[in-house]
Every structure is written in structure tokens, then in C-alpha cells.
């Protein structure tokens, strides 16, 4: 995350991940936030590249304090949150979006999510939560976004 922001101020990063010490080229942790919206609307997502590196397949996503009104679950999702709105902080868990009988992810960008009950007040808390639930041991190397704080809002 550097200071060269695009016009909408969105900052995004990709981090390749290791499994047992070997870097899996197609396995990425990606994140995004708005430079001028500190501590709001942060996304962390785990994805892999499909065959030939052409298509990104999303595996899990955490949306923290989203400004887009939460997420509306597809009615065909499994679990108690099927067809319901989940709040602005929610978890697109792998098992909610995996179709075991067809051995594939559901179509779309992880259409099923559930609320996160745990209190996540800061970015650092979010990173800790992601480390535990995405099973990334040294996730603390993910830097805090260079958010621009307005002294006179």
C-alpha cells in the first residue's frame, strides 16, 4: 500500500501465500480499503488462480464495516442466513460457498455470508481475526493502510 492512490482513493494489495514453506503462485490474500475512509469498508479475500492463470476463484472473504449496507444472501445458501441480509461486518465462509456434490465454489463472488459475532473494533483486530479464520500464521505482516485522517471533518 503506497501513497499513489487512484482517483477514487481505493487501495488494493495482493500477497502470495506459502503452504509448508513453499510459495503457491496462484494462492493470494488480497485486500482493499479507501484511503479517505479510515477504519471503514475493508475487504480481505483469499483466492486462487484457475487453470492457465486466467480466472481467479474466490475462496473466502471478510468484509469489515462495509458501507454498502451489508450483504444480501442468495435464498439458496445453506444455514440460517439464507435469503437474509447480514450486517456490515460479515464472513463469506468457504463452506457456505462450496458445493460438495459438484466439488466447486458457488457461482459469483461468494454469494453466501454470515455475520461475525466477535467484536472487531480496530484494523489490528480484523487482521488477528483473519489470521485465525483464514489460517495464516504471520498475517501480522499485512500493514495498516495509509489512511488519510481529516483533522477538520
Amino acid at each position: 500500500m503506497d501513497g499513489a492512490y487512484p482517483v477514487d482513493g481505493y487501495i488494493r494489495y495482493y500477497v502470495p501465500l506459502d503452504i509448508d514453506g513453499i510459495t503457491e503462485a496462484g494462492l493470494n490474500l488480497s485486500g482493499g480499503a479507501y484511503a479517505r475512509l479510515p477504519e471503514r469498508h475493508v475487504t480481505l479475500e483469499l483466492s486462487i488462480q484457475g487453470h492457465g492463470g486466467i480466472r481467479r476463484i474466490r475462496l473466502v472473504r471478510i468484509d469489515w464495516r462495509s458501507l454498502k449496507g451489508g450483504h444480501s444472501n442468495d435464498r439458496r445458501c445453506a444455514g440460517p442466513w439464507a435469503g437474509k441480509r447480514v450486517p456490515e461486518t460479515h464472513f463469506h465462509r468457504f463452506d457456505l460457498n462450496w458445493i460438495e456434490s459438484e466439488r466447486r465454489m458457488r457461482k459469483g463472488k461468494l454469494p453466501c455470508a454470515e455475520p461475525i459475532d466477535e467484536l472487531i473494533p480496530t484494523f489490528e483486530d480484523l487482521i488477528s481475526f483473519a489470521g485465525i479464520h483464514l489460517n495464516i500464521k504471520n498475517i501480522n505482516i499485512v500493514p495498516r493502510p495509509n489512511w488519510e485522517y481529516d483533522l477538520f471533518p
Binding site: V7, D8, Y10, H51, D63, K68, G69, G70, R103
Partner: protein
């Protein structure tokens, strides 16, 4: 059928609660974010941002959310072109990443409708187009796999095969084997892709038995009963092993 007077208090309460929950507003600093009862393709709510300008002027924008949607699909290059087309009918401004309009407190409601509607349509149009382009993507994946398995010198792309009808059928790839050719066609789960492949396979197989026909699909399960339409071809899923590709071509 809905009978007059049959709506219970429970249903009435549920309806009223749902309606109250359809629109949300959040204030962040000097800006307002309004979540509307429309969904982007990822299931998030179409949202507009309202900023104050001078006097009673306001700026309503989508805060770049439609751009983020299409960027997530690796289709950001399509954003401006598509947004400009949609904006012709809604009269909003299209920036590099943001859809917006300047209005005032008298016209704020219509400005919200126009920006939100444009933002939703842009994300939706591009998302659907990406979906339709899936067979192009699948063809590229297939080509990469075939070259790795059989060698680049054995794989021909951009070829056509003439069927019994004399129609020339473009196919994804042809693999040249010692005694015969294996013709691979990427087939997605859209009706057009399946029916086109089905017709081509039957037409080509009527000419010669010296060609092996193979449909390359993402998932047989998704095709369901339409899988049978791909006969007389063999069918291989993208997730199957290289050995499966060799066996199918043999």
C-alpha cells in the same frame, strides 16, 4: 391466491419490518452513504454517496462501487465504455471510476435514482457479459492444458472442421495424434454453447469416424440432463487429470 382479509398480523409485521429495512443511511464525516434496495452482482447493496457542495448544491455519486464490482471481475477496462452508454439515457456524469451527478436539495431524490440505477446497470451489464464470455476463457484454459499435455507442436488453434452439411465449424483446438485427430471444444453451461456444440458434434461425426470429439466443460453436474446433448462426443471436466485428457483423445 391471496384471499381478502387473510393477511395475518405476523405477516403484516414482517412486511412492514422488511420495508423499513430496505433503505439504510450512514453518515461518515460530511458524507452520507445511502444503501438502496437493489443488489450488485456480488450481493452487496447498490449504494450512493451524497456530498455537500456550495449553497444547496449536492453531489450524488456511487463512490466508485460499480467500478469496484467490475474490477473484481478483471473487467475494469469495460467500465467507462459501458458506463458512458448507460449514462446517455440517465444523464449522469461518468468519470474514470465514479458515476455521479450534481444536483440540489430539490432534485436529490431523482439524482439518487439516476446514479443508483446507472451504477447497478453498469455492474450488471458487464457481469453478464463476463458470464457469456466464459466459453472464451474456457477455450483459453483448454488450449493451455492441451499444449502442456500433448506439446505445442501437436495442438492447432483457430481451425475449422467441415461437417456433413458442408458447414465449417470453428473448434477450440485440434490435437494431431499418430493415427487420428482429436477435436476439443470448450462448452460452458449456457444454452447457446451447448446447442451449438451439440449440432457441430453431430454434423462432424456424420462425415468421418477418424476424428475423436471431446467436449471440455467446467462441470458435468452443472450441465445436468443437457450433458446427453453432447453425444457423440466424450466429455472431460476442467478439473480432471492430464491422463483423462490423453484417454479422451485416444
Amino acid at each position: 391466491m391471496i384471499a381478502a382479509g387473510s393477511i395475518s398480523h405476523e405477516i403484516q409485521g414482517a412486511v412492514e419490518s422488511a420495508v423499513r429495512d430496505l433503505v439504510h443511511v450512514t453518515r461518515v464525516g460530511e458524507a452520507y452513504y445511502v444503501n438502496l434496495p437493489m443488489l450488485y452482482p456480488d450481493g452487496s447493496f447498490v449504494t450512493v454517496r451524497i456530498d455537500r457542495m456550495t449553497g444547496t448544491g449536492i453531489r450524488v455519486s456511487d463512490a466508485g462501487f460499480a467500478y469496484r464490482e467490475v474490477d473484481d471481475l478483471d473487467a475494469s477496462r469495460s467500465f467507462k465504455r459501458t458506463a458512458n452508454k448507460v449514462a446517455e439515457t440517465t444523464g449522469v456524469d461518468v468519470g474514470e471510476r465514479v458515476i455521479s451527478v450534481e444536483a440540489n436539495i430539490e432534485t436529490i431524490e431523482r439524482a439518487i435514482f439516476d446514479v443508483a440505477g446507472t451504477s447497478w446497470r453498469v455492474a450488471n451489464v458487464i457481469s453478464e457479459r463476463i458470464f457469456e464470455e466464459d466459453d472464451v476463457v474456457l477455450s483459453a484454459e483448454l488450449s493451455t492444458r492441451l499444449k502442456a499435455v500433448f506439446g505445442s507442436d501437436k495442438v492447432c488453434e483457430g481451425e475449422k472442421i467441415v461437417g456433413a452439411s458442408t458447414v465449417e465449424w470453428p473448434v477450440s483446438a485440434i490435437v494431431l495424434l499418430e493415427e487420428h485427430k482429436a477435436v476439443f471444444q470448450a462448452v460452458n453451461d449456457q444454452a447457446n454453447s451447448i446447442y451449438r456444440a451439440s449440432t457441430a458434434f453431430r454434423d462432424i461425426s456424420s462425415v468421418t469416424k477418424q476424428i475423436r470429439l471431446i467436449a471440455f466443460v467446467r462441470s458435468k453436474a452443472i450441465l445436468g440432463p443437457r450433458l446427453a446433448l453432447l453425444a457423440p462426443a466424450r466429455v472431460v471436466e476442467e478439473g480432471q487429470s492430464d491422463e483423462s485428457l490423453r484417454k479422451a483423445a485416444a
